[in-house]
Every structure is written in C-alpha cells, then in structure tokens.
Amino acid sequence: MGIKPSEITDEKTYLKRREFILGAGLGIGLAAAPFMAADARSILRHTKNIGGAPWLGQAIDGATMGEPSTIETPTPYEYVSTYNNFYEFGTGKGDPASNAKKFHTDPWTVEIAGEADITGEFTLEDILTPHPLEERIYRLRCVEAWSMVIPWIGFRLGDLIKRFKPSSDAKYVRFETLYDPKQMPGQRSSFASIDYPYVEGLRMDEAMNELTLLAVGLYGKHLPPQNGAPLRLVVPWKYGFKSIKSIVKIEFTRFRPRTSWEMTNPREYGFYANVNPEVDHPRWSQATERRLPSALFRSNRLETKMFNGYAEQVAQLYSGMNLKRDF
C-alpha cells in the first residue's frame, strides 16, 4: 500500500491549506485559489460534499497516490467543476454544473457486453469493489484548445478489462453514456446534431495502456455529476471528448465502433483524436493551448505537446501510423 497524500503533507502546505479553507469561508478563497492550489491533492477533502454512494465515498477516502502524476499546478476545483463540456446537460460551459445538480448516480448499473467470457449487468459496486483506487494528476487537453490539470481518483481500465476475459476477437472497446432525456435536457433538444446516447471507443491496446483510467472521483471526492459521475473514462493523451462520461455500457467489439463526434462531423473529429499540435482542427489551431483558468490579460498560453506530453507512454501504440490521416 502507498502513502495517503494527507500523511505526507508538511506543515507549510498544511497551513496554506488552512488559509485556503478559511479564505473560502470568507468568500475570498476563489480569488486566492490559483496561487494556493500548489498542493491540490485532497485539498477539497474537508470542504466539499458532492453526494454519491457512501460506500464509494469510503473507497475514495482510501485512495493512494498513483503514478504517473504531473507536478504541474492543478486547476482549482471551482473551475474543474464549473467549466464543463457535457452536452447532455447543455452546451454552455456552466450549463452542466447548473443542470446536473439532481442527476441520480446511485444506484447505477453498468452493462458489460460483446466478445468476452463474462458479460451481463453489474452494479457499480460489483464493478468497483475489486479495484483499489489511486489518485493521478493528469493534464486534460480539450479539442477547443484549452487545458486543465486534474487530480483524478480511479483505477486502470486495463485491470477491469482483464476481469471480464475478453476473447481474441475483442479488438476494440466501445463505451456508452446514459440515455435519459428526463434527466438530461440536452438529449431532448430538437436541434442537437449528436445522435444520443453518446458513444466513444478505444482500440484494445489503448484501453489496456497503463495511463487509461476509469475515474470515480476528483480532488479527493466523488465526481460531481457535471464531471461525469459516477464512472467516466480518462484518456489523457487524447482530446477530452474521448473521455466519455457517466458510462452505462462497456462492450468488446470486433470492429472499430462508430463514435459520436466522428459520426456528427468526420472532417473535424477523428476516431483516434490523439492530441497533436501538427494537425489543426479546421476551426482552430492545435499548436497552442490556454491553460485554465486564464486571466484577462494573462491567458496562460502554452505550446501543445505531442500526445499531450505523454509520448513516452503511448507513442509506441501508433508506430508506423500516419497520424495526419488517422487523426
């Protein structure tokens, strides 16, 4: 077992954290947060209660520090949880946070289907129980050319896949988000170009990669609904839309699944969607990104790195491929 982040906090950081909590109490914490979030691990552990299943909360509390984790300054919780693309809850960046407040994530079931020995409907508890949780701090790069740094709590997707014993015919993994227009106003829109439910997919070797996570929490707490509670994918070397939220189905397939954005607009969004500064999106350049939060006159512009800086872990997955064509 590793050491919990709270156990290695030195006094200086602890005092900073106390300042943060006191600041938040006085209503000025928001302004100070960007400068005080240097030790972001579990900073919110004592300040926020998002809801979600109690047993899951206990599991999240028991999370250990995982590697790899970036040492970059994490994006403050207030921004991670209020600036979201989750079109099922509206297209404005703040819409998911306001519209997903009452989203039911407990009880939750996940269907495992397709080319595997073990398939069927499983409760979230069945899905999660065998897996010890860990905290990993990853960069998240959106296709819209902004990025964040997020401390996720989760476990390796590869460990889950092994439990269900996919057959040799299982070449891809297909994921599906909940379809529930009653709870998800975006799914009721007559002018939505996405054909819901939202679908994403990975090649089997991408799914088995050590970086690929299934996340259940962030900042030491349950995932807020707007961030994809109770179970979401995290694929840090691909654009954010690959990291599908609120998963209800995982299917092992022989053929490459048709994913939502690829079907909606194949010229702009590819199946692989690897972060690549050399392949521009038709509507914006991908050479740079703005690390949020940005200030008005200091936009935090950074050079975008190939595979979002995770080339060491994933470049070999694509050797011999033309990434300009298979974008």
Binding site: T75, Y79, T82, Y83, S189, F191
Partner: protein, 203 residues
C-alpha cells in the same frame, strides 16, 4: 415624446455596463462569474449583443410600417451604431484576450478559419455603414446612400453564418436567431414585391 430616444440609449448601454462591471470586478479579484475563461466569455457576450442589435435595427422599419409608429424611425441610426459598437468591442476583445495581438495568428485565423473569415468580412462591411451614418453623408450620398445601406442584409446573412459555423453541436440558439433574421428579410422581400406590383400597375 422627447424621452424615447434617451431612454433607449441608456438601455442600449446596459450590456456594456454589465461587461465593464465584470471586467473591473474580475481585475480587482471580486467575482468569478465569467468562469475559467473570462476572455472568451467577454468575446461571446459582445458577439451575442452585436447580433441582437443588428436584429433590433432591422426591426425598426417593419414595426413602423405595421403599426404606423413613425417615431420609431429616429431610433434606427442609434441602434445601428450600437450594433457597430458592440461588433467593435467583440472584435477588439477577441484580438486582445484570445489572440493577445499576435498579428501572425490573427492573419492566419482570418485566412484559415471560415467562421472567422465571414465574421471579419461582416465587420468590414459594417464600417462604411457606420462612417456614412451621419446626416451630412446621408445628404451628400442621396440615392446612393440607400443602395449602400442595403449591405446590412448581406451583413445579417454573414453574421448568421458566423454563428452557425462556430456552433459545435446544438443548433437551438443559431436556429432562433436565424428564424428572426429570415422573418425580417422575408418582410423586405414581401414589401419589395408589393411596391413593384404597384409601380407596374401605375405604368
């Protein structure tokens, strides 16, 4: 009623006042209502108000004709100039906050990104209309003034395409603006056909 124009003038300033309030509050560190990407929020806010003022300007003549409310006519130039003002703020905040005056990138955006290309053309087309909006120019240009200001219909189409092309997935908002815009264009076409018929019957 002498108060109509000043009252509308003050109303038209409200979005700008709200925007300035947000910028000042943010600079002083008080509120975070603009979210994680305040620059983009300001660009979007002013872009929306540009389109709203464009539609409001184009409402004046149909409303005046339908309700014989001729006093409305005095508002048309002012609303048009507010449309131009919000368009200028939209463009300036895009260059300041999002591109930070890296001129190479601005040029690349205008050439390579279709939604920015049409937005930029729409703004360039607004310029001559704003310049020729004063009474002296109206007198000087005479009949040609009317012809020149028909450009506003082209600008409307470009602005709607700009919005349509920057939309990623849900077209509800774009559809509402387009519906209002097409209704206003339709009114012109109907009016034009009717006056042509009258002229023909007089011949």
């Amino acid at each position: 009623m002498q108060t109509l124009k000043p009252a509308v003038f003050v109303l038209c300033l409200l979005p700008l006042a709200y925007c300035i309030y947000q910028v000042v509050a943010l600079t002083l560190g008080y509120t975070h209502q603009l979210g994680a990407d305040p620059g983009k929020a300001i660009v979007k806010f002013n872009g929306e108000w540009t389109l709203r003022f464009l539609l409001l300007t184009l409402c004046v003549t149909p409303l005046r004709q339908m309700f014989a409310w001729n006093r409305l006519a005095q508002l048309r130039r002012m609303l048009g100039l507010f449309c131009f003002s919000y368009a200028s703020i939209h463009l300036m905040s895009y260059m300041t906050f999002l591109l930070e005056f890296r001129f190479n990138d601005i040029a690349a955006d205008i050439v390579k990104r279709p939604f920015i290309t049409v937005g930029f053309i729409a703004f360039m087309a607004l310029l001559p209309l704003a310049i020729t909006s004063n009474s002296w120019m109206v007198r000087r240009l005479q009949r040609r003034w009317k012809t020149l200001h028909k450009l506003v219909y082209v600008i409307l189409i470009l602005a709607l395409i700009h919005l349509l092309w920057l939309t990623r997935s849900d077209y509800t908002e774009a559809a509402v603006y387009a519906a209002v815009g097409l209704l206003l264009l339709g009114h012109r076409i109907k009016h034009w056909i009717q006056t042509r018929e009258v002229k023909q019957s007089q011949n």
